[in-house]
Amino acid sequence: MNAPQAADPILEVQDVSLSFKGVKAISGLSFVVRRGEICALIGPNGAGKSSLLNVLNGVYRPDSGELVFEGIHYRGITPLEAARRGIGRTFQNNALFKRMGVLDNVLSGLSRHARTGFFAQALGLPAARGEARAFRELAEHTLEFLELQAWRDTPVGSLAYGLQKRVELGRALIAGPRLLLLDEPMAGMNADEKREMSRFVTEINRSFGTTVVLIEHDIGVVMGLSAHVVVLDYGRKVGDGTPAEVKANPDVIAAYLGAVQQEGART
């Protein structure tokens, strides 16, 4: 990352805590994501990583603490509002529209950008047709970028898991988010597929300047992908820094690296 961008935080997590019926999922978590960076969130299963993404885009409301996105403070926000402010998201367990085709899934990401009203669409007025054409073009570009053209009209429910992950990325990407939250985008992939997905993430980050926060178990992938790693364990932050710093941190080694090797062996 270049220096002027590095100074500018896009997202600040300030002392955030979240619990489910008394069980703490996140405790007093604070960290900063700088504009234009790829920030990796790592930690063993149940560390609270997904819960944190859910707090960031308003699926969960934290018990305490605050978030600052592009200078605006928030705590309780709806997912809809988060999307409007430019936070895109993919899920650990794919949340696609299974019976819709790949193109339609990607197009659905543009919904909140639609400007033509119900009646214009119902009557097929020129404005609606024009917008549909523009959207379609944008979607074709997205498919091309993610190399998904071959499956344009295939219902996503019948696609291989790795491809579904890519479609979900495309659906988030097409809306032009400034912050992209990716929950285990490479889970369940083989080494080739992981490399391919890493390439897409890097490419998105570089070409569109999109800030990325991603969760990933494979420490090797993380080290190659991101300059900033935050390590969670039992809802607490145990490490925060460059991959090298984090790797050298004895707390991280104790709390996380051993555990992940066990996880990795299991999955």
């Binding site: 885009n57 699926v59 709806t78 997912p79 809809l80 988060a82 999307a83 409007r84 895109g88 998201r89 899920f91 949340a95 696609l96 529209f97 299974k98 019976r99 819709m100 339609d104 197009l107 659905s108 990401g109 543009l110 919904s111 909140r112 639609a114 033509t116 119900f118 669409q121 119902a122 009557l123 097929g124 609606a128 917008e131 549909a132 959207f135 091309e144 970028f145 190399e147 071959a150 499956w151 344009r152 009209d153 295939t154 019948s158 696609l159 291989a160 790795g162 491809l163 659906r171 988030a172 809306a175 080739d192 597929e193 391919e196 390439r199 490419e203």
Partner: protein, 358 residues
């Protein structure tokens, strides 16, 4: 970046197969045009009054009602058993406009009746914000009974007629009398064709995509910025608009005279069966389902007479019909949730690759 990499999946044949299905789904690009030419140009001359009155008009109206329910249930995933209630709203509202605003031309009265039905649908769609699935279906059941009760209880709606019924005043459009079978058929066909075209525009556009997204996964729809509650209510309103107009046509173009009991729960189930058999999430499916449901009784009674002679009891035929429908519904729900429309498409795809495959 894109030059060196291949698609990841080994399933290369899938897009190909799907492309074939796509082509086969529209084997005749001029299909809708040809259908319209036949329906407008030939059928009024070829079909006798019995066919127009007893088969074609109800078939078209039921297709329209199926289309209305399909937008809500097949496309948006909100199951309703209150269709007939909204048909009743459309019928009684149109009647009120025809009766009390005599200057209003018939097409505008239909439109206004549909708009009132849309309003009712909107109101009964409000609970969909909090209630889902089975419990939402129960609220539509409540809507059905409530609306039936309203149109029985308040004589204003049927102009204080002692019979509790409403009848068509003189049917005319732009000064032309259309109360004959041919006129009523052309009226119905025009309305159905126009509304089918609009539905086609909607489901192909962003509105339709929002609906199907909500159907497939409403939580994900919200995350990507779809206003889930608003689009559910919109689906209720649009669906009821269609059903309302179908109700008005059912009364004025088909039955001639109707009462609240013409729109009872059995009618709701009939509409639901049409979309289950024809195909959820398909526009053509409504016509296929309605054709099936209109023609099966005819076919059964013909077959019954041919097999058993004239001694056949119409009651038995009716029972047989119920058994067949019941069995079909179960079979479709289990084996082919996308209905006959999908089966036909697959069959056409097979035919398209016939020399290669069989």
């Amino acid at each position: 970046m894109s030059s060196q990499s291949q698609p990841l999946s080994p399933s290369f044949s899938r897009p190909f197969e799907h492309a074939l299905l796509e082509v086969a789904a529209r084997p005749f690009p001029w299909g809708p045009g040809a259908l319209l030419v036949v329906a407008f140009g030939l059928l009024p001359w070829l079909a006798d009054d019995y066919w127009l009155n007893a088969i074609l008009i109800p078939f078209l109206v039921l297709s329209l009602a199926g289309l209305g329910l399909n937008l809500l249930t097949g496309y948006t995933g909100q199951t309703s058993v209150g269709s007939a209630g909204f048909m009743a709203v459309g019928a009684f509202a149109t009647y009120a406009f025809l009766l009390r605003v005599p200057a209003l031309p018939l097409p505008l009265a239909l439109l206004a009746g549909g708009a009132i039905a849309a309003g009712a649908g909107f109101v009964f769609g409000i609970p969909s914000k909090r209630i889902k699935g089975f419990y939402l279906m129960v609220t539509t059941l409540a809507a059905q009974f409530f609306l039936e009760w309203v149109f029985t209880k308040f004589p204003w709606f049927y102009n204080h007629a002692s019979s509790g019924t409403i009848s068509a005043p003189r049917l005319e459009v732009f000064g032309h009398d259309i109360s004959g079978p041919g006129g009523r058929y052309v009226l119905t066909l025009s309305v159905v064709a126009l509304l089918t075209w609009i539905a086609h525009n909607l489901v192909r556009g962003q509105v339709g995509r929002n609906w199907t997204a909500i159907r497939d996964m409403d939580t994900a729809a919200a995350v990507i910025g779809i206003e889930v509650d608003r689009y559910k209510r919109l689906a209720f309103a649009v669906s009821s608009f269609y059903l309302g107009i179908a109700g008005a046509l059912w009364t004025f173009a088909y039955l001639g005279t109707a009462s609240a009991s013409s729109f009872d729960i059995n009618r709701s189930f009939q509409i639901l069966f049409i979309i289950i058999i024809g195909g959820m999430g398909s526009i053509a499916g409504n016509f296929i389902g309605a054709a099936f449901i209109s023609l099966l009784p005819l076919f059964l009674s013909q077959a019954g007479q041919a097999l058993l002679g004239s001694s056949v009891d119409p009651g038995q035929i009716q029972n047989l019909q119920k058994i067949i429908f019941g069995a079909l519904i179960i079979a479709f729900l289990i084996k082919e949730p996308e209905g006959l429309a999908r089966m036909l498409r697959r069959f056409a795809a097979r035919l398209a690759v016939w020399p290669l495959r069989f």
